[in-house]
Amino acid sequence: MTSHLPALVVTVPLLTAFAAFAAGWLRPKLCFPVGLTGLGITAISSIWLLAEVLEAGTVTYELGRWPAPWGIVYVVDRLNGVVLAAISLCAFIQWISSRASVKSQFSDRIGAFYGLELLFVTGVMGITVTGDAFNLYVLLEIASITAYALIAMGGGRAPLSSLNYVFMGTIGACFYLLGVGYLYIMTGSLNMADLASILRGMRSSQAILVAFVIIIVGVWLKMGFFPLHGWLPNAYTHAPWPATTLIAPLMTKVMAYVMMRLVLFLFGPEYSFGVLGLKDVVVWWASLAVVAGSVIALSQKDLKRMITCIILIEIAYMVGGTFLGNRSGTTGAIFHLVNDVFMTLCVFLAVSSLAFRQRELDMDTMEGLFSEMPFTMGALVTGALSIVGVPPTCGFFSKWLLLKGALEAGHYEFMVALILSSLVCLVLFFRVFEAAYFDHGERSHGHHRMREAPLGMVVPLLVVAIGIVALGLMSGEVISSIIEPALPRGVL
């Protein structure tokens, strides 16, 4: 059975999605447990897969038993093994915690909603695990189409934001597809490993250069990297909570993973960093994006919008870290990706359970929340400290690595941007905590005391918060045993 694990991590959520959708028509009560089982199996098998990879090295799975350049293969190495485990755990935790809000918001179309969520998970898992450039496009479209629909379920402006996302996302995916076409016409292959070995001999080709640029721009468009981020804050802000908590931690991170996969493995570090000379430009640009993201985040009043803007900053960290092109910078970027899945999940879940009790999320309505919802706020503090980068949490270690990488590469502007944005995050969250901690006693009489969020939301939240701290404490082992060996040899 262990040899089939790479297929299982994708097909189990897929089959569960069909089961959940059918259950929505026949017996709506069954949707939740069906999905829970499916995601549970997925999480277990992806962790098992990671253990397998750590023990035996890269695992390759030939779908339909066709060998590599002809058929589609799944390749799991350390890099996507760890990303897979993070994604599946995140989806599992989110599934448990979103139960109550899904039930209250989508009672008449619960099967469709759960089916789409599971399909989304299938899409992102597939993107992570696949070793075929075109298969990645198809899975990308699955993840995107489900994300469009899930986002558009929010009221008011949500359909418009979602349609904007449709346009931007389609253009991004088409750019990616076009780049793959350029690669195909020059090499005749679609398999990533095969492509990488052929491209090694084609360093000076213009068409490959154009393909590289188009693909990276397409992926950035999907990631919401700074000048191309227009769709992101609106889409995530207006989406309904159960959708945001699933999409926000996963979608952009997976695209960041795709960028790393392409830059580090498909084109190879020598090409991406060496031949082009684009490296320094991109790092400068990422520093600019970090600063711009901080400014955008500072100008927000709404809590949900603020935390979506923080995603912009995190994405810019990852782009910058990857393109620093040295060992600690790249390690930092990968570790930050894994951390960021959990950090974002923690913050979004915490805010969503605040929102579950209280519709309006302005700074003014947050007074006295610490005494009313201590566990939720505790988790929010943990997540926020991790985003700011305070030592026992995992965010600190990845930021430290990024800083070290920037210092080694001589990119002082990236260091400045990093420290500046950490301060900005501190200010942002401190504003929230100040409002929430001090009970001014001048509350309007309409403001009744709030209860702690339901148990189904608090427990997953606490698990994530503890996980963040634990990941921080174990960061040494994680980095040295998983992430460092994952890097290709070309990264110095």
């Binding site: 075109f134 418009l160 349609l163 253009i171 076009l178 016409i185």
Partner: protein, 128 residues
């Protein structure tokens, strides 16, 4: 002159697809009406499909269905490359799915705001 013509004949397919792509991109970015934007998006996608199909083309080859009775001696150069066709079948399906979702969103937006012009919608949002 002959040389230029040769280059044009060899490459015009690749140029036309770029023209179509630019038309589509213009439609998505510059148009104000949402349905027009969706049309632009579809044109953009079709242009890329055209690019893939033209690169699978081989001169002097026939469609990639093996002729009956010749199964024993199949030469690859006699048949057009089937792989881009397969990829593009998938891409067409993706395009029509995106189109369906986008149109559903447009209908939903119209129900909400009573207009399909983007500037009017933004105006209405600002007022409320």
């Amino acid at each position: 002159m002959d040389r230029i013509l040769e280059v044009v004949i060899a490459k015009y397919n690749y140029w036309i697809y770029i023209v179509l792509m630019m038309i589509g991109l213009y439609g998505v970015i510059a148009k104000n009406n949402l349905v027009k934007k969706i049309v632009g998006m579809s044109i953009f996608q079709t242009a890329i499909i055209l690019f893939f199909i033209s690169m699978g083309m081989k001169k002097g080859a026939t469609i990639p269905i093996i002729i009956h009775g010749q199964e024993a001696s199949v030469r690859a150069s006699d048949y057009i490359n089937p792989l881009p066709h397969v990829l593009m079948l998938t891409a067409i399906v993706v395009a029509v799915s995106t189109l369906g979702v986008a149109l559903a969103l447009a209908v939903k937006i119209y129900k909400e705001f009573d207009t399909l012009e983007e500037d009017e919608i933004l105006e209405k949002i600002r007022k409320s």
